[in-house]
Chain length 153, copies 3
Amino acid sequence: MTTETPDRIEDLAGPSGFGDLYARVQRFYAHQMQLFDLHDADGWAATFTEDAVFSVPTLDEPVRGRPGLVANVLRNRRRQEDGGEQHRHWIGMLDVRTGADGVLHTRCYALVHATPRGGDSRLLRVCVMEDELVRDGGEWQTRRRVVTRDDLA
Amino acid sequence: MTTETPDRIEDLAGPSGFGDLYARVQRFYAHQMQLFDLHDADGWAATFTEDAVFSVPTLDEPVRGRPGLVANVLRNRRRQEDGGEQHRHWIGMLDVRTGADGVLHTRCYALVHATPRGGDSRLLRVCVMEDELVRDGGEWQTRRRVVTRDDLA
Amino acid sequence: MTTETPDRIEDLAGPSGFGDLYARVQRFYAHQMQLFDLHDADGWAATFTEDAVFSVPTLDEPVRGRPGLVANVLRNRRRQEDGGEQHRHWIGMLDVRTGADGVLHTRCYALVHATPRGGDSRLLRVCVMEDELVRDGGEWQTRRRVVTRDDLA
């Protein structure tokens, strides 16, 4: 049954408390971003739900489902290999609030740092990332992501 | 009664523990910085105590109290709109220690990233931020902030 | 007795839980990086075990033990003073997993931001940092660190 009332964060956190919830979400993002930067397409896609919707301004339309997410990682790998650059995705300023039915809404900033082999690192991109996270047996997964870029705002 | 002896972090944290305290402070800063970057003047000012003192090198003298804080946000909004840039404030390397009477002293790094519309993002500023936080019915508030800029050091 | 089986993160975290563990490791790194940037050689070296091994690409061979770590800080201080620059080390995307015998393995990203006096800040370096942490009476210490730089990859 779908309810319209947001859960309280305390209810979503459960007996282990807000600190546990927040730490697990931070670690989830750390792990998810590392998998992306390692071009681990399957590992990264598995951090999303099967039917996840992923919207970023660089894609003409939202990606829906894991096969599309896998293809996204592979395309990024190809681009970085062609360009000889290593990208690092960096999440911060993580705010969280609860929706209904156990959904956690997050809003955070995302940076991309790029480094060419033998060259100078640079700040490539500044983004805002909004996720809906759901729990699958203890582990969080992203079921919906909307990324906006400051340069395209 | 004012005491001179610092509280133990365990006492300040209470039964929910250090993890809960640290996570709540992280989320507090995430929320506070997002409000500033959204130019939500009243929302941002409400994350400070009524009599907060706010010292940054770009102001000739410290701001005292919420009306001054609101004015600070509005001035920043105007500047960014004039310049056509989006700023993002980013906190990290958050260290915490306790003072007396339930005060939490924090020391962290603060970055500002700037992005012009259609242009390249850049690292605008590197700062050190020192706060005194107090709790107002469960929620933290800043009662004193001192920011120093590395370029002006 | 050395075992080959990794501890469960729950066992390593103990009754205070994962949130407490993760927060303490975050604060450990915040404190450690601040000490380095303050050129507090002894304070920084004390965040490592006596026999710690520290590998970074800018050193010809790994540093072993605290006297070498102290020398490393002093060398960095001299370089920054000569160059008139302030460096800030910034850790993020912190992932953790357990090894055997109470060892915590971390993998995170590390940025260095540099700011000349009166000049523009810049992103100096993007690194990946892998640590083995052990607990010494409640506090974590680094016993082994391997840093790789994206520009030298």
